[in-house]
Amino acid sequence: MGQREGATGLTTHAPQTAQAVTLPVSLDEAVAALSAMPTAVPVAGGTDLMAAVNSGQLRPAALVGLGRITEIRGWQYQDGHALLGAGLTHARMGRPDFAALIPALAAAARAAGPPQIRNAGTLGGNIASAAPTGDALPVLAALEATLIIAGPGGTRREIPVSHLLAGVDMLRGGELIGYVRVPLLHAPQVFLKATGRTGPGRALASVAVVLDPARRGVRCAVGAIAPMPLRPLDAEAWVAQLIDWDNNRAIVPEALNAFGEYVAAACIPDPVPAEDGTLTPLPPAVLHLRRTVAALARRALGRALS
């Protein structure tokens, strides 16, 4: 690195323009490469990272490309769960065979930006960049997915996805997200996203609803309105007991409406009165967001139960 003579005789004085790129073919090799050079940055689809590099916001000293690690580009079954490789692209997850397994994740993958982004962007990247608008994140939160993290020396540890997103448990130096373990629930799941436009766009709010008929449970997560997906646990438990699980999962329409309001109020609470009792009402934009969350949650549960 440092100064170097380019092929055209062009001198570069910029110290970080010469980048080392490593292309490991297995997860352990990738971890070893990262451990050997702690300043290196792993890159999979690069849809966020390379945009930051090109705009000059990020100057990684070196890159570890994850694109050649075939073991994390597919999925396998494991005692009632699917073990999803972190290198699965959104395009792959959007296909019908995947949609039959985990319908909400497939819907989120199909909604995640234009085809160019979906072809490159990966599940692991969506988790690692942890953008509030990441479309896969509310689905993983509702599914209570766990991450299998590969560490130096072939070690593996498991953490719930919500712990990583909340910053309770962080990735340590040299670690990579290897797999995502997701339960196979064999029941309807819905992911809905409001963007404010017809073409692909970032979510203003998104809702994932998954049914767990074995436990007679409903799990719901709301994305894009907070730094990490929110789980309205009370609303989930309340609505689960109103569903007639033995009779085609029937529910009265009023309960759907109430569920939407319940979820919205849980995620965007009413303002607390000040000490003198005055109440500042929510600004119109926040009220609109709350209405949007309510409509999404009602529609999502309605579709899951229909």
Binding site: L10, T11, T12, H13, A14, Q16, T17, S55, G56, A107, R110, A111, P114, L192, K193, A194, T195, G196, R197, T198, G199, P200, G201, R202, L204, P284, A285, L287, H288, R291, T292, A295, L296, R299, A300
Partner: protein, 768 residues
């Protein structure tokens, strides 16, 4: 995606063994289509010169701040840095500007908007240049920004010229007139960015004579040359602007300050210097559509005939004047729209703020007022209980009516015919609720749309724009036509921005001279000026100049023959390279008649002069007007407030169709830009700082956002004063579409919709 059901468009010849299309009125393919498709079209960002340096510009991170000190010593010491320039290094006039020279090349004492240039660096690598620009230490004393244009009147002057850039108090008719029905409204229009798909880029090459050549995607090369020469302290002859491929232009494309810095660096270093703007710099630097605040009161009698319009229009010009005065004139003059209004009292202001700069963007001024007066017409229709289209028909203007500026409309104004055409066009069918009948719901194919919550609405918009510069601007263009060896060449400094001028020039020469092979020379400032590429100017003035020059060549060619056969040149015609007389007695080929000679002719076209608006906003300020009617059909998810424009049916007054395929493309592009202004395009700021200056945060319409565009009718009523009788076609669909979309959302939701772009919360219907 788009079906055309034109009633008057001649069918374009389809591909087949037929001869290539040529002449006017046919769909000659655009000259540069092939190069653009193959990736060989020479955009400025692709240029290269041996030993070139890379430039970077340091821009203000504040919207309003006093500069305490600028320290460039660290940047100068960095290895690879060849020059660092600031306001101290401008040898010529330190100020520039398109409308008025009030903008510093580099800020010296005060920065007045986010992204204002402060210094520029040339280095031997782009990264070095950027890092050196970041190493320039500027000490600021941050000042309170003025971001609300209503506060600009009483705020401390942001600029030595004061905060009021222009004020037009238009008075027309009887101030005491009142109507039986009165409707009022307050409207806000957002900041649309022209967002050209290629950002600014250029190459400056110093010349041995101490001058400089600028290779840039300029849309007005001679003005840019003059500005550069003044800035460099050189006579204009020593600065040459060479126009490269233009990657999209719907406005004054380039930030002039960027071009000036480029040339200064080349002169300072004696080396070629290249500068490519990032998308962020492009968003910060170039001119935007004026955010506008409009207050309206319409008076009508009980039958719905307009009696009086009162309006106040406030344009946010940003920190510098640019062409805001012209935009204000358009806004005030067209404030009542294409309607007959006997009494009009319109007061308009353009004021300075610390918001991003505003300037010329297609449909300037006219778009903002169109959204407001059409909202007023909807309100009036609702109050009177009249069908909105019917109310508009009762009031539309026609040729011979008088604008609020006192100017009589002398050009064709078939407004009623346009509106009837879109009103009577069949509405798109509602999709049936079956899986086979795919319904693209608001929110998109993977969105959250639910058919039960979707309401459909139909709305109308009528719009008008002026063509060419207004208020006494000297609109002139010069063109040269050369014929040699059976090949014609056109030299004209009219820049091809994608509007199709080079194709049109070829068609004109083919039509006049019967020569199929026509080349259009690249543009530089060694050619005589042709003026900016905007407001449909080049079809009119440059097209007119090319036609005149071609006719002069024709006369030179035919005169000897006519003389020989004792007939006038009018009795001879040229078709397919053959000259024949009216009676068929004479027949010879063009090449024979040429006899190896080279024929040249140069001609000018200068439309009839206009006059500035007087102190009451009165005057014959415009050369020509173009009109259009749009009917929008939208689907609104009334719970989420998401809007999808299903179809836009459009009828337009085009004068004469010169190239059907290009005309259609221009209209479709204009409508799509209008849909962007209606729904998503708004460059947001927070206390003067631009938020999300990128194409993720600034949502341009994609193929899914673009509606089906039905060109229902193109009215060909020739404008006798225009060459070929053709009218500009690009701007008026942009102006009219947002108003029609807003009208349709109003019909679907019953909400007032008084803000563009339409925010989702404005399209939500809450159960009360």
């Amino acid at each position: 995606m788009t079906n055309q059901t034109a009633t008057v468009t001649p069918a374009a010849p389809e591909a087949g063994p037929e001869p290539l299309p040529h002449g006017l009125g046919v769909s000659l393919p655009a000259t540069e289509d092939r190069a653009k498709t193959e990736g060989t079209f020479p955009y400025a960002a692709d240029l290269w010169a041996e030993g070139l340096l890379w430039a970077a510009v340091l821009r203000s991170p504040h919207a309003h701040a006093r500069i305490v000190s600028i320290d460039t010593s660290h940047a100068r010491e960095m290895p690879g840095v060849r020059a660092v320039i600031t306001h101290e290094d401008v040898p010529g006039t330190p100020m520039h500007g398109r409308g008025r020279a009030d903008r510093p090349v580099f800020a010296s004492d005060v920065v007045r908007h986010h992204g204002e240039p402060i210094a520029a660096v040339a280095a031997d690598h782009p990264d070095t240049a950027r890092m050196a620009a970041a190493a320039v230490i500027v000490e600021y004393e941050v000042l309170e920004p003025v971001t609300d244009p209503e506060h600009a009147f009483e705020a401390e002057p942001l600029h030595p010229d004061g905060n009021l850039i222009r004020h037009i108090p238009l008075r027309h008719g009887d101030p005491d007139a009142v109507g039986e029905v009165v409707v009022e409204g307050l409207y806000r229009i957002g900041r649309q960015d022209p967002a050209p798909i290629g950002a600014e880029a250029g190459l400056a090459v110093p010349r041995p004579d101490g001058g400089v050549e600028l290779y840039i995607a300029s849309t007005d090369p001679h003005s840019d040359r003059d500005a550069a020469a003044a800035c460099y302290g050189l006579e204009p002859a020593r600065v040459k602007v060479v126009v490269t491929g233009v990657p999209g232009a719907t406005a004054d494309r380039e930030d002039q300050g960027f071009q000036l810095a480029l040339g200064l660096l080349a002169l300072a270093t004696g080396c070629p210097v290249k500068l490519t703007a990032t998308r962020e710099e492009s968003f910060l630097g170039h001119a935007h559509r004026h955010p506008t605040l409009l207050r309206y009161r319409h008076h009508a009698d009980a039958e719905g005939n307009l009696v009086k319009v009162e309006a106040q229009i406030l344009l946010d010009a940003g920190a510098y004047a640019d062409t805001s005065g012209e935009s204000l004139a358009a806004a005030v003059s067209f404030a009542c729209g294409p309607y007959v209004v006997p009494n009009a009292f319109i007061e308009g202001w353009a004021v300075r703020t610390n918001n991003p700069p505003s300037g010329h963007v297609r449909g300037e001024g006219a778009l903002q007022v169109c959204a407001a007066y059409e909202a007023q017409m909807d309100k009036l229709a609702k109050k009177l209980g009249v069908d909105p289209a019917e109310l508009r028909l009762r009031n539309v203007m026609a040729t011979g009516d008088v604008l609020p500026t006192g100017q009589t409309v002398t050009c064709p104004a078939p407004v009623a015919e346009l509106l009837e055409a879109v009103r009577d066009y069949p509405l798109p069918a509602l999709p049936k609720d079956t899986p086979e009948d795919e319904w693209l719901l608001p929110g998109g194919p993977e969105g959250a749309g639910e058919p039960g919550a979707v309401r459909r609405g139909v709305g109308y918009g009528l719009g008008m724009v002026h063509m060419l510069g207004a208020e006494g601007a000297d609109e002139v263009s010069t063109a040269t036509v050369k014929v040699h060896d059976g090949v014609a060449t056109v030299l004209c400094a009219a820049v091809e921005t994608g509007q199709g001028f080079t194709t049109l020039a070829r068609q004109i020469v083919q039509e006049t001279l019967g020569i199929d092979e026509v080349h259009v020379a690249p543009v530089d400032t060694d050619q005589p000026p042709a003026g900016p590429s905007c407001r449909g100017r080049h079809t009119w003035v440059s097209g007119g100049a090319v036609e005149r020059a071609a006719k002069m060549v024709r006369t030179q060619l035919l005169q000897p023959l006519a003389h020989k056969f004792g007939m006038s040149t009018e009795l001879l015609q040229i078709t397919d390279g053959k000259i024949t007389s009216y009676d068929g007695m004479l027949s010879t080929t063009v090449s024979e008649a040429m006899d190896g000679k080279e024929l040249w002719a140069t001609a000018q076209c200068r439309p009839h002069p206009t006059e500035p608006l007087d102190e009451h906003g009165q005057g014959d300020a415009f050369v020509g007007l173009a009109f259009c009617a749009v009917r929008a059909v939208v689907d609104v998810d009334i719970e989420l407030g998401s809007v999808r424009v299903v179809e836009l049916a459009l009828a337009q007054d085009v004068g004469r169709i010169l190239n059907p395929a290009q005309l259609r493309a221009r209209i479709e592009a204009g409508v799509t830009q209008g849909v962007g202004a209606a729904l998503t395009e708004n460059l947001r700021t927070n206390r003067g700082l631009v938020r999300h200056p990128d194409l993720t945060g600034y949502a341009l319409p994609t193929a899914l956002d673009a509606p089906d565009i039905r060109i229902v009718k193109l009215v060909e009523e020739r404008d006798v004063v225009a060459p070929f009788g053709a009218k500009a076609a690009s701007a008026v669909p942009v102006v009219t579409s947002p108003a029609a979309v807003a009208s349709a959302v109003r019909a679907a939701t019953g909400r007032p919709v008084n803000r563009l772009p339409i925010r989702p919360q404005a399209a939500v219907v809450t159960a009360q």
